[in-house]
């Protein structure tokens, strides 16, 4: 079932939770709502699910308006960040709940309830734990019970609010891959909220990036990562260095380095903020013919899959570079060393600030 929201607006007092949100989710899609806390993503999810009401705007399920339809009639499966399992019921009873509360005429028989619940518990790999209480389970197990419970009523739409938000990093990674596989099996239209860009990129078909109650950009993970439409998106989707530079004649200038501007970037403006990801910068121990600027090595973090080097540019701005271990060894980098920084122009982002640069202060 497809979901569409039109012109959703919601305020809590002076705080704008949803500015004017329009979104379409196609049947069978898995979409992530991504943004920092306070971006309005949970509010949007709750409005879609009918747990909250917008001040104005409409929600359509499969082209039919459902704005005023009650929560229990929406056929929505909701998974909460803190699981919201019924603590006085066993795992089995938690999953069976949605079937047991049906009116007599549509309620399955006890045998088919049992059958369906056990099948769901097998699906989430919890078949052996049906008689446990929620408090006897780990966080990851609880979240899988919550998912099985939501799936038991065969929802047309599955909504997940920070489903892995309160789990530790390792369980998180496992569960999100598992969620992706599960979605590939079931194809239930799903929307999940997360503030973790890695999670959104890894799991979702499309990512909706939100900020301050507005949608900044919608696209596949590749589209938003390689074609960010705003500085916010570029900034939010990964580590980034901010440089104060200039824009002139279709090129961006960073110290003595000049770069052709990416297509989407603005062409004119005196000063500009240039956003560059750390892995798009390269270091050399001597000038190699390419445009470069000088920088001094301040710190080296050699643990991890890449080496992270912190430097200070010749004009005093601190920044970070990510290079491979081979490169690190070849350069024989050490603290205090003078290096030459070159830039690859793919995927950098330039924001011009006409005049004196009102948007970004000098200190950045």
């Amino acid at each position: 079932m497809s979901i569409e929201v039109r012109n959703l607006k919601k305020r809590f007092g002076d705080y704008v939770a949803l500015g004017d949100v329009n979104l379409r989710v196609e049947t069978g899609e898995l979409v992530a709502l991504l943004g920092p806390s306070g971006a309005g993503k949970t509010t949007l999810l709750r409005v879609i699910g009918g747990l909250d009401h917008a001040d104005s705007g409409e929600v359509f399920f499969h082209g039919q308006e459902t704005t005023d339809r009650a929560l229990r009639e929406r056929e929505v499966g909701f998974v909460f960040q803190h699981y919201a399992l019924f603590r006085h019921m066993t795992v089995f009873e938690n999953v069976a709940f949605g079937l047991r509360v049906r009116p007599k005429t549509t309620r399955p028989t006890e045998a088919s309830i049992k059958d369906r619940v056990m099948r769901l518990l097998d699906l989430v790999h919890l078949g052996g734990l049906s008689t446990r209480f929620p408090s006897q389970l780990s966080g990851g197990q609880r979240q899988r019970v919550a998912l099985a419970r939501a799936l038991a009523v065969e929802p047309k739409v599955l909504l997940l609010d920070e489903p892995f938000g309160s789990l530790d990093a390792k369980v998180r990674q496992e569960l999100r891959r598992w969620l992706r596989r599960l979605h590939d099996e079931l194809h239930t239209t799903s929307v999940f909220v997360t503030h973790d860009q890695e999670e959104a990129m890894e799991v979702a078909d499309r990512v909706v990036i939100m900020n301050k109650g507005e949608i900044e950009q919608i696209g596949t993970p590749e589209e938003v990562y390689f074609g960010p439409k705003s500085a916010f998106v570029y900034n939010f989707l990964g580590n980034v260095n901010l440089f104060q530079g200039r824009v002139e004649g279709g090129r961006a200038y960073l110290g003595s380095v000049s770069l052709p501007l990416p297509d989407a970037s603005p062409a004119k403006g005196d000063s500009a903020t240039i956003y560059v990801r750390p892995h798009l910068l390269d270091l050399a121990d001597q000038p190699n013919g390419l445009d470069h600027f000088r920088a001094k090595v301040e710190h080296i973090h050699p643990t991890g899959s890449t080496v992270k080097v912190e430097l200070t540019a010749e004009w005093g701005e601190p920044f970070q570079v990510e290079i491979s271990h081979e490169r690190y060894r070849a350069l024989a980098l050490r603290r205090g060393m003078e290096t030459f920084v070159t830039l690859r122009n793919e995927s950098l982002f330039v924001e011009t600030t006409p005049g004196d640069g009102m948007m970004f202060g000098e200190g950045i």
Binding site: G49, G50, L51, L71, R72, R74, V76, G77, F78, F80, H82, Y83, A84, L85, F86, R87, H88, F97, G98, V101, R102, F133, P134, S135, G139, R142, A146, R149, A150, A152, V153, G165, S166, L167
Partner: protein, 289 residues
């Protein structure tokens, strides 16, 4: 929770003895001695005289009235308490804080004033007095007034207990139930009530013991008509004023026993509630982010 404590965090023996001794002496002076005195006075003329006090028909009627009032007031306050706690914890609305404050009002107002409010409202000279007189409805100096006054002084118990409990539990479980297709009634019976049952019972026990023992508010509205509007505490006062000490203290001793019984039940309920909390815990994650 561990019994072993390091020397650094333990006070010297004399300080411990002084504190424990002080607390015990205080308890003895203000609790054990009076309770002992009640039984001593009641049994002064022997057990037959003690038992005879309960055979007085007015005493019997006072007991029946107190039981009737309690049976009416406590269930009503359980209903009100659930409704108020539900409204306060599950919805956002204007005047919520005012409502929370008002629920506590009976605790901060002197019981005599509480009674007086009803006299001013329903008494012959009261606001609604003439209207009630025309229709020959008696509230003051009759059962309805006593029940009203008792409800008034006992209504915070259940509501307060539940508000605190339901606030910490949040409403996610209810939202989950609704999203799974349960209606409001099913959500209440299957999800909310099992989660609050011990708190509810605890509040009801406190309300019951207060309803049985209430003196001030009931005294103002009752009119002290023997055999008709005399509750047990009022009856004790009358017997005492008539120098029937054995009778007064005999009945008082029964109230003391009721209080001790309530205390016992309360402790059991508290212990079971805690045991269940340990067993079921909260279904929320171990560490909140």
């Amino acid at each position: 929770m561990s019994g072993a404590r390091s020397r650094e965090t333990t006070e010297p023996a004399w300080v411990r003895r002084l504190l424990i001794g002080g607390a015990l002496a205080y308890l003895a002076l203000f609790l054990f001695v009076p309770i002992g005195a009640v039984f001593a006075e009641a049994l002064k003329k022997g057990i037959p005289a003690y038992l005879a006090a309960f055979r007085d028909p007015y005493t019997l009627k006072a007991f029946l009235l107190t039981i009737l009032v309690t049976v009416l007031a406590v269930p009503l306050n359980v209903l009100f308490g659930i409704a108020a706690a539900w409204a306060i914890t599950k919805f956002r609305f204007r005047g919520k804080n005012l409502l929370i404050t008002l629920i506590d009002l009976p605790f901060s107002v002197s019981p005599v004033i509480s009674g007086l409010i009803f006299v001013l409202l329903f008494g012959n000279q009261g606001l609604l007095g003439p209207w009630l007189q025309e229709r020959e409805i008696r509230i003051i100096f009759a059962l309805p007034g006593i029940v009203l006054a008792t409800i008034f002084v006992t209504f915070p118990f259940v509501a307060r207990e539940l508000i605190a409990l339901m606030q910490t539990q949040g409403s996610e479980e209810e939202e989950a139930a609704l999203s799974l297709g349960a209606n409001g009634w099913q959500t209440f019976w299957r999800v909310t009530l099992p989660n609050i049952r011990w708190g509810l019972l605890y509040g009801a026990i406190l309300a019951t013991s207060r309803a049985i023992g209430e003196f001030g508010a009931v005294s103002v509205v009752s009119g002290h008509i023997r055999g008709k509007t005399n509750t047990v505490p009022l009856h004790i006062e009358i017997l005492y004023n008539e120098y029937n000490f054995v009778g007064a203290f005999a009945i008082a001793s029964l109230l003391v026993l009721t209080a001790l019984l309530t205390l016992g039940v309360k402790t059991v309920v508290q212990r079971r509630a805690r045991a269940e909390q340990d067993r079921l815990g909260s279904a929320a994650p171990e560490q909140t982010p």
